[in-house]
């Protein structure tokens, strides 16, 4: 079974600075997707960025980028120029790409609570 581990329960960053959130995962599959989701106090889970395992190039979305190390099974999120609105719980998630009748549900880590200091 696949597992996702986030070892940083809480992180803090100064506004305009850069912060990196860590995530490791375990799988025997060779093809899969990895995601970072943001969950503000409103509870709405918002997709921040996604990475296809077969792509070597790290995904970027504006101020958000990932460092995907497939061999090490590591998938960290870097937030540049942090803004007050970035404060939220961040979840790393894994999804298989199996065919047939597989559900390919999202498997989440336990989350990292990010505080942004003005």
């Amino acid at each position: 079974a696949q597992t996702v581990t986030q070892s940083q329960p809480e992180m803090s960053v100064q506004e305009a600075e850069t912060v990196t959130l860590s995530c490791t995962y375990d799988t025997s599959e060779s093809d899969y997707y990895l995601f970072w989701y943001k969950q503000p106090p409103s509870r709405q889970m918002i997709l921040v960025i996604r990475q296809e395992a077969y792509k070597q190039q790290n995904a970027t979305e504006n101020r958000f980028s990932v460092n995907f190390q497939k061999a090490a099974k590591s998938f960290s999120l870097k937030i540049s120029d942090s803004q007050l609105g970035d404060a939220a719980m961040y979840f790393c998630a894994y999804r298989s790409v199996r065919g047939g009748g597989a559900t390919n549900k999202l498997i989440f880590g336990t989350g990292t609570l990010l505080a942004v200091q003005p």
């Binding site: 996702v4 409103s42 709405q44 997709l47 979840f91 998630a93 390919n104 336990t110 989350g111």
Partner: protein, 113 residues
Amino acid sequence: GAGVSQSPRYKVAKRGQDVALRCDPISGHVSLFWYQQALGQGPEFLTYFQNEAQLDKSGLPSDRFFAERPEGSVSTLKIQRTQQEDSAVYLCASSFTRDSEQYFGPGTRLTVT
């Protein structure tokens, strides 16, 4: 367009009561997922629908949990004889296909007293 909506946003139930949680997915989305998020934890999969067919219910924690999606759109998650351990946020997500991006609703926070 409208996103995924869930109702009620908050529900308080006395232990032993039955509750029904509703999810309105994005129109045209074939796939619908339910997740349970305990306090301080990440969401955990409960069940999956493709149209009206419930293809995976492996995450339902007990036979007190029941989900349906009779017409392939709105889905209801029912919990019978609620227990304190059922207290959690219940998230619904829909996607155009099984493998496309899942869009989440705001969740229903269930508190069992």
